[in-house]
Symmetry: C2
Subunit: 476 residues, 2 copies
């Protein structure tokens, strides 16, 4: 069998994990990353402030496990479990809301820690070559020739690939170039909110707050959140409409803002640090994007944020990107019955068939999670303190305990199962309908019972017929 | 006053007209076009098969008139009026449907004829310089430096601009570069249909069909249309789902296809020509795009297809692009009260204010016409032979004649007025509601009258009360 070569553009989380998968399936892998190798001590600070902390949950673990259970175990050693949300009210009161009635949890993990683990894993495959400091310029998607530029010397070079994988993030250049070849439907939307990060240092060598929670200060139109780090600090992120960022004109303004809305966080971060970091740290924008198809013939595929960037409010961006790789691997393997577990043996036709199936299947699921992530922002910054929301959450939790496979809360389906995202939404809609009906029926039954009981108590022998009662009730 | 310089990228219809407008308002204009000058005899065939024929109507003329009534007159000398649609049924019968009860018409015009007229007009301004064979590479939108590449020598050069205008079409590179600076919402969608052009030659020195119509062969999921050219030929365009194009595998297939669905057109075009042109002419895809904002600070603006490409079914693409320029000119002038009619005298702040106002206002209107153009495809290929559609069209035409300013058919508002597109949609929705109610009332009144009359005839003295009658009617 001639050696089949995949060129992966982007050495972030999705790029490095996909390098491992392709190597495991017999491909010769060349991965090109624009930045230097962050595993080298002199480049270790390159990931800072790159974006919001990461939360890894079932879908992410599942993809690691499928590749190598030991890798999953190594990652699990570097995470901090978060069992629930800790809601901080204005008066400093903290209320814990568990994520799951059976104690399942999500996990805070540092972006750079995880990338380093994955790059090490990729390096452990003999047929993987990692190239750092190379920028993707263009590709001839028909011939498979990829043009790259050395970031230092600015010299251009070409490599030939049987398959080109674009794992180069939301502003993917591979996708941009593919769009000139493929009739790609594409949309990107910025939300009216931006974010800014602050760090909350360890206090006397330990965490300043309960480390096993994702902390939220929900304030309606904006919020602060905090995730724990292994060094006992927290990374706090303020999400807020740009118009409100614009109102903060000085470093004093940002302190007054924190004093007014997050007094407890202000105390734990410190005035001086808030001033410094607000001035120094970039304000990031938040965007989501959808596109389709994800592939070009047997030649190219985009994965992760390059295909479906989402707002970070469901903690699913990376998990979904990892699941992309797992789904693609399953589909490619199912095409290669004869080839055993070597997808490098697929013919061009089989590969095209697999990629096209992947694109059709996956774009429906990713579209669902992109929408869910957007909706969860409202939940996090406002609904978590709403009575109706909490009542439903409680009721669903109870039903989930009774009928664990019939009634599954939305958050549980997204974070603790691998049910395809589009099915999650479908099940959730059915469940909601069923729940609403049940609540209405239960309410009516309760009212009727109480009415009948009271009537008996007051000495009525003859009760009015039920349909009359119901009719009267309806009029209220 | 220091000279203010605008760099226009793209020397198509919108680019060349905007060059004239900026020159008229006192700017120094440099226009860069990728292709050679199509006015030179050796390049005159470059525009062929570039896209569907053009139809110019009120909005387009209005923008020409505002610039120079003589230019409008010159363009009007090069057009062929189309007073209505000519519907070709399968048996060869032709039915004319007028566009307007007062005889207003749209006009067929050749793309290259119009571009040449506009380039000549632009050249007539001393402060306009046209540069052909230069490709836009990138721009530093903060400093206003524009990087270009000579298409022949491949040498790069830089020019400085106070304002950069992107009039470089649906795949605009100016827009792509702006997107790295601006939080731009963007969506592009391909429809499932493609197109292919054919030419129908003159017969014995004259038009093969009535030249004052836009000819349509509506066939449900696909259609053929034909627009007249000055040389007495017609340009025919077949619009069809890609899946149906795929079914045509040979030149014989295309002839059988025409024989089955467009026998009269087959005869007028000729078998041989259909074979040759189907094989030779490219199959074009159809896409629409929306984005916002259109501007970056006081430094850049995108116009025409670069900002809002649409499917060609309302004949509004170019008209909307020309109207862009007119609207921008009005807004810029209204900012420059003190400066007379010289918008080059605007300060950076005034210019930014004007651009930002333009973007906010215009993006709403262009979004409306992008949607209308998409809807009109269904109308053209299917509804034009539907009884309900024709009945409503007839009724509206009658009401428009009676109350010309109160009831205006949709097509008339779009093609024969300058009512902003978003208002067109709003008025149309109100009109539809009012019309539906009126028809219901009229029907009820008619039924009641007939009932009463019949009852009298049959000798009933006492009629049932009206509300009883209405109640009974409602139950049907």
């Amino acid at each position: 069998m001639p050696e089949r070569r995949v060129v992966i553009v982007g050495g972030g989380l999705v790029g490095s994990l996909s390098a491992c998968y392709f190597a495991k399936r017999g491909w010769s892998v060349d991965l090109y990353e624009k930045r230097p190798d962050i595993r080298l001590p002199e480049h270790s600070n390159l990931v800072e402030h790159r974006s919001i902390n990461l939360a890894i949950s079932e879908r992410g673990f599942s993809a690691l496990r499928r590749l190598d259970p030991e890798l999953e175990a190594r990652v699990k050693e570097s995470v901090i479990p978060m069992h629930g949300r800790m809601i901080h009210s204005l008066d400093g009161k903290q209320t814990s809301q568990a994520y799951d009635v059976f104690g399942k949890h999500i996990n805070s993990v540092g972006r750079s820690t995880l990338i380093k683990l994955l790059l090490d894993e990729a390096s452990s495959y003999s047929q993987v070559t990692l190239h750092f400091g190379y920028e993707f310029i263009n590709a001839d998607f028909d011939s498979g020739r990829v043009m790259l530029q050395d970031a230092n010397s600015k010299e251009e070079c070409c490599v030939d690939a049987d398959l080109i994988v674009g794992a180069d993030g939301a502003h993917s250049r591979v996708r941009q170039r593919m769009m000139t070849k493929v009739r790609m439907n594409y949309s990107q939307t910025y939300i009216e909110h931006g974010y800014c990060e602050f760090s909350m240092p360890a206090q006397e060598g330990t965490f300043a707050m309960n480390p096993n929670h994702l902390h939220i200060w929900p304030r309606g139109s904006f919020m602060l959140i905090a995730l724990p780090n292994l060094d006992h600090s927290f990374t706090c992120t303020l999400f807020m409409p740009w118009s409100q960022f614009d109102e903060i004109k000085s470093n004093d303004d940002v302190v007054s803002f924190f004093r007014k809305h997050f007094p407890d966080a202000l105390q734990l971060i410190g005035e001086q640090r808030i001033r410094l970091e607000y001035a120094a740290n970039p304000k990031g924008s938040l965007m989501y994007l959808k596109c389709a198809p994800y592939t070009y013939k047997h030649r190219a595929v985009i994965l992760g944020d390059a295909a479906h960037a989402m707002v970070p409010f469901y903690g699913q961006g990376m998990n979904c990107g990892f699941e992309d790789i797992e789904v693609l691997d399953r589909i490619m393997l199912s095409q290669s019955d004869k080839a055993g577990d070597c997808t490098a043996a697929l013919s061009d036709e089989q590969l095209q068939q697999a990629l096209s199936e992947y694109s059709a299947l996956r774009s429906v699921d990713t579209s669902a999670i992109v929408d869910l992530a957007l909706q969860n922002y409202v939940e996090m910054r406002a609904k978590v303190v709403d009575f109706g929301y909490l009542a439903r959450k409680y009721l669903e939790g109870m039903l989930h305990r009774l009928l664990p496979h019939r009634v599954i809360p939305l958050y549980t389906m997204v974070s603790f199962t691998s049910i395809p995202y589009a099915q999650v939404v479908q099940r959730w809609n059915q469940q909601s309908l069923w729940l609403h009906r049940s609540i209405r029926m239960a309410t009516i039954a309760a009212v009727v019972s109480i009415g009948a009981f009271s009537a008996r108590m007051m000495g009525c022998r003859q009760l009015p017929p039920l349909h009359e009662l119901l009719h009267k009730l309806k009029r209220f």
